[in-house]
């Protein structure tokens, strides 16, 4: 394992270096502290979320039930109903935020979210078609995933001309996204309200009715893709110098882009499959992380994931327990996130 060598003269203040045989990493100690703090807050909030509901459960019993330490009188409520939902909010939030950070770093445009590659609009169109033509809810995640993946392939294919130029990707993405959105609107105005309603409800996005299957899928996806994304932050930073400089430094620019795109797309597509197109997280959380911790690096990416997790969990808890009517998390994300984001925008110098 690594040893900490903070006294080395080459290391800037506030940075900790980890070294082992073939690998070394430098971590900003402030970011590390914020990350640890956030992790604790997420855990605390998760326990709090599982205490609330029609049946109030004391915190001690929640923890005991999860760990199967005592009697299992709350087993069904905690382990089958509440824990999957909480976990799903956490992993989906993290996945969306990381995906957004990847896309913004890749395309270097602050307005970009994974939807630029059509993930949400594709899923939306497919699910709207599926539900409005009267098929069952059971296959919605698969339909959503297929829609998201197809849209991404189409955008990618149409943007490819020997390479993927970010500006071309943006414009093609807008074009495809708008066409898909227009078709979805067409479906929305062509059915009766009873037919259209389920599709509209889905299109807001929620973690309601989460089960262990969803959670398992997301955890596996995140466990594979997040380390890849963190590792890719190094070539990505080189790419920030400009394409020509990066190439002359020996970086495979196109290969880096493709890997990043794949990782970002996969995270977003899995999220939309299990939770619907939840807005705002992928777009705004990366900005929040940057406003708090500075330009995107591997450790800031982890911070981004944690903020995303905390944010979606918080939105779900508020939407579920603290409003006169229970609202899906997709409504709450922007309602809560936007004011805080504006505050950050007002307080800090922007470093995109």
């Amino acid at each position: 394992m690594g040893t900490s060598l903070p006294e080395l003269p080459t290391v800037p203040r506030g940075q900790i270096t980890f070294r082992s045989r073939g690998l070394s990493a430098r971590v900003n100690s402030r970011v590390l502290l914020i990350c640890l703090g956030l992790l604790a807050v997420v855990a605390g909030l998760a326990v709090f979320a599982m205490m609330l509901g029609t049946l109030r459960i004391p915190a001690v019993d929640v923890i005991r039930t999860i760990g199967h330490l005592g009697d299992d009188q709350y087993d069904f409520v905690v382990n089958t109903l509440r824990l999957p939902r909480v976990l799903l909010a956490v992993v989906v939030g993290a996945a969306l935020a990381v995906s957004g950070a990847i896309f913004q770093g890749l395309v270097r445009n602050p307005l970009v979210s994974p939807d630029i590659i059509g993930v949400n609009s594709g899923a939306n169109l497919f699910v709207a078609f599926w539900l409005i033509t009267g098929y069952s809810w059971a296959f919605v995640p698969w339909v959503a995933f297929v829609g998201a993946a197809l849209a991404a392939v189409v955008v990618y294919g149409l943007s490819w001309r020997g390479n993927i130029a970010p500006n071309r990707l943006i414009l093609v993405g807008i074009g495809v996204g708008e066409a898909l959105a227009a078709l979805t609107t067409l479906l929305f105005v062509s059915g009766t309200i009873e037919e259209v309603r389920p599709a509209q409800v889905w299109s807001i996005g929620s973690v309601y009715g989460a089960d262990w299957g969803d959670v398992r899928l997301m955890v596996i996806a995140l466990a594979i893709l997040l380390p890849v994304a963190v590792a890719m932050m190094w070539p990505m930073q080189i790419m920030q110098l400009g394409e020509d400089s990066a190439r002359s430094l020996g970086l495979g620019v196109e290969r880096t882009r493709i890997v990043m795109l794949l990782v970002g797309c996969a995270l977003a597509a899995f999220s939309v499959a299990v939770a619907g197109p939840i807005g705002f997280v992928a777009l705004m959380v990366p900005h929040m992380a940057r406003l708090i911790a500075g330009p995107l690096t591997g450790s800031v990416l982890i911070l981004t994931a944690l903020i995303g997790a905390l944010f979606l969990l918080l939105a779900d808890v508020i939407g579920q327990h603290f409003l006169p009517v229970a609202l899906p998390v997709g409504v709450l994300t922007s309602a809560i996130g936007a004011p805080y984001f504006l505050f950050l925008l007002y307080r800090t110098t922007l470093r995109v």
Partner: protein, 355 residues
Amino acid sequence: MTMTAGTRVGDVPVAPIGGRPRWLGRGVRATGLLVGLGCVILAALASLRFGAYGVPTSAVWDALFNYDPTVYDQAVVRSQRVPRTIIAIGIGAGLAVAGATMQAVTRNPLASPSILGVSAGSAFAVVTATFFLGLTHVSQYLWFSFFGAVVASAIVFAIGSIGNATNAPVRLTLAGVAISAMLGSWTSAILLISEETFDQIRFWFAGSVVGRDLDTFWFVSPFLVVGALVCVFMGHQLNVLSMSEDAARALGMNTGRVRLICAGLVVLITGAAVSVTGPIGFVGLAVPHIIRSIVGPDYRWVLPYSLLGGAIFLIGADLIGRVIMPTGELQAGIVTGIVGAPFLIVLARRRSLAN
């Protein structure tokens, strides 16, 4: 071209100076404007002539120049097709100019006229009013829509302008997105709670020029006309503004003031447009890009061409929407998306634009 190499993140240049082919001189571009005007007139005539109900060309002519209200064909042209054509021209032209202006002000090719929160503000006000006051008809939406649009964008501009001016375009953009998202969440909460409101409002959301009162349009047209005309003559300022904050200031421009004026005009145009037709997307976003690929990046030409291009685009969208369906109609807001997208994609794949 190495446009992206030295650019700061978030400052994707939308108007590289000097990227036009040599043959495209001033004379050619001026002639092109006249040709464009001709195309608008042709498109308008086509819009009067074609539709679900067949009208002979002579009846269109008579309806325009010696109108006899007792002839059914002429009455159809006058009461149905003239209003929607006029509205399509006005709104299309206005949105395209507003879009081009906004792309220069925010220096972001993703910016559309609704980036300042206009559409979100308008939708918010209309949905809230429908839910609480029980509005039933599009003409009642006008005031709420316009008011919502103006207030929302004023807030966006106020928040976006605070602080360090070097980042002003990015701040403005992000503030717009954040406020839009906030208003959007309230809107979707209401639509989720009240199925009745959603049922009513979903057609307005699609955006259409059908069944709109011409009086409503005349009412907001001063905002549209004044806004669009002033924007068209701001071409020089927008050229300077779109370079970079430092360059614009070094040339002696009061960037804050120019931005405020431009944003104000865009809000007037877009607010007026959305209150007549509902949110029609894509015109303001795609038309300026299409125009730029034809006439080059100089805003002194992009703006007047956008004026004409937007009009043609929306007339065309409305016309296609009514010809394509054997019965009923496709809303113009839907057609702009489906028909406009291939245009944008083809353009993006051409070298000049995507670089």
